[in-house]
Amino acid sequence: MSEAPFLEVEDVWRRFGGFVALEGITARFSRSRVTAIIGPNGAGKSTFFNVLSGALVPSQGRIRFKSADVTGLPQHRFLHLGIARSHQITNIFPQLTVHENVRVGAQALHARYDLWTHRQRRPLLADKADAALAAVGLQDRRRRTAKLLSHGEQRALEVAIALVAEPELLLLDEPTAGMGPDETKQMVHLIERLAIDRSILLVEHKMKMVLGLSDRILVLHHGKLIADGSPQQVQADAEVRRVYLGGCDVRA
């Protein structure tokens, strides 16, 4: 396949003072459906996402998205290039309504400097917001103040805000954090639907979910990439077993 990789991470390091959070990560991604990134706590998964979404600049190494070098670009540029993320710790606009939360996300890419048009007189933005809310199932909640939503609804709102940016690459950082089994199932279905039209990178802890959902799994440990392959390959990988399971056998 001579097609240039969709996303390319080349020898990326990230240090915080003396602490090495990411050590020489190299990976290539094509426009596959769902790629999961797993690893024990502190493995560097969120740092990796921060680097991929532009929130952090790598200390070393390069990141290329659709053949363009995006290393070191300011964070807001990443959205315009087509990379959006949701956050592990819910990061919404608490005082705004649900609809406004998402509309603001849509506005960022279309009308942020518009000093003149009344914010409601741009039906395009409202429609995009409605579409994103419908996709995550929050359309009935659109008038609620965001901080009054339940935890699961707030996680869905997180995803909606990322979704409304119409990204080609969607980074979901533990979308089911704190969710019970029913809500998790809904989120899994959502991710499956979303994966039809875009590439998804997913950080998760729920192994069953990850194994069932992803086409490819990357395993991080202490900032290093220790495994990279299909779910079957990763499950069988000795190093992964040692790190996660202490050598025990486990079936999905």
Binding site: H76, L96, G105, R112, Y113
Partner: protein, 336 residues
């Protein structure tokens, strides 16, 4: 206890039944905020003990309106707006006094000049985050203060700028005696009305939603794709334009520009007025200016140390009524 008003306010919710419409069928006061404000301000001179007080309320209310755009709506606590207010005043005085520029052109020039200064100050101060911003803006304004002090051939130095009295103005062919307090008030009100309309327009616009989002959660806004630095800078400039206009009008009103106008105590004054009135509310700044100047008027009858009382009241507001007079009233009205 938060200072900012709840943002799910009338006028910001879309109506699902009629997409694109603003009012969901009922009359919302906030949609009429500009005409209502203007009507209230028209009545003001007749409600206050003196016309001079009314003009001051108008001028400082306008100053606070501009300031509120940056502080109340974008969430940036600037302590340097005296530089913008003062720049508007000095540029007006210098244009008229030393260059014989007609008054309207002088106003325009002064407002634009304040905008340019706001851009320069913004570029330097927006690089710093959060609470450091307040420090830097104060220091930058002091830079302007000391520069004006030194450039006394232009500014009159410690004695202030004089010699640019405008006594009559030609407005659409009519000769208006500007020295008459009532005439003066309504001419200034005409400019204030334009500024009110402009600010309301900006606050209702997509940009208005943008700055509120940044105030709500700056990190999130950045993660949504907003160039936060640039947007803050734009807000700073817009705020500076309005503050500069207020300063220019102040110069026309007083016919002198005292050096102290540039001192950070003036910056503090507009901060206090904005908070007392209600930061993040539209008409709050005028209410705050009114409250502050009324208190000065009344308290100075009893004691020359009225600032002690007003300062203490301000502290009480910060502790217990951070939404200000108008902001608290709005919040009470919205409670089911």
């Amino acid at each position: 206890m938060t200072r900012w008003p709840r943002l799910s306010a009338p006028g910001t919710l879309p109506d699902p039944a009629r997409p694109g419409s603003l009012a969901g069928g009922s009359i919302r006061l906030s949609d009429w905020r500009v005409p209502l404000s203007i009507v209230a301000l028209c009545a003001l001179p007749w409600l206050l003990p003196s016309k001079a007080l009314a003009v001051n309320v108008l001028v400082y209310g306008l100053f606070a309106l501009g300031y509120n755009l940056l502080f109340g709506y974008t969430g940036l606590l600037s302590f340097g707006h005296a530089a913008l207010f003062g720049a508007g005043a000095y540029l007006t005085g210098i244009s008229i006094g030393q260059f014989g520029v007609p008054w309207f052109a002088a106003l325009t020039l002064a407002t634009a000049g304040a905008g340019v200064l706001a851009f320069a100050m913004g570029v330097l101060s927006i690089r710093t985050r959060g609470i450091y911003f307040s420090m830097v803006t104060l220091a930058l304004a002091q830079l302007v203060y000391y520069t004006a002090l030194q450039a006394s051939s232009w500014t009159g130095g410690e004695n202030g700028l004089r010699g640019f009295t405008v006594s009559t103005i030609n407005l659409f062919g009519a000769r208006i005696n500007f020295l008459d307090p009532v005439n003066k008030y309504y001419v200034i009100l005409a400019f204030a009305a334009c500024a009110l309309w402009f600010v309301s327009r900006v606050l209702n616009s997509c940009f208005g939603a943008t700055i509120e989002a940044i105030r709500e959660n700056e990190a999130r806004a950045r993660a949504c794709g907003y160039d936060v630095g640039r947007i803050k800078l734009l807000s700073f400039v817009l705020s500076g334009l309005v503050a500069g206009l207020a300063g220019a009008l102040s110069a026309l009103h007083l016919t002198i520009v005292p050096l102290d106008i540039l001192h950070y105590q003036t910056s503090g004054l507009v901060v206090m007025m904005t908070l007392l009135g209600g930061a993040g509310s539209f008409f709050g700044p005028f209410i705050g200016a009114l409250a502050f100047l009324l208190m000065e008027d009344v308290f100075s009858l009893w004691t020359s140390h009225w600032q002690l009382v007003v300062g203490a009241i301000f502290i009480l507001f910060v502790l217990f009524l951070p939404q200000g007079i108008w902001g608290t009233l709005i919040a009470l009205r919205k409670r089911p």
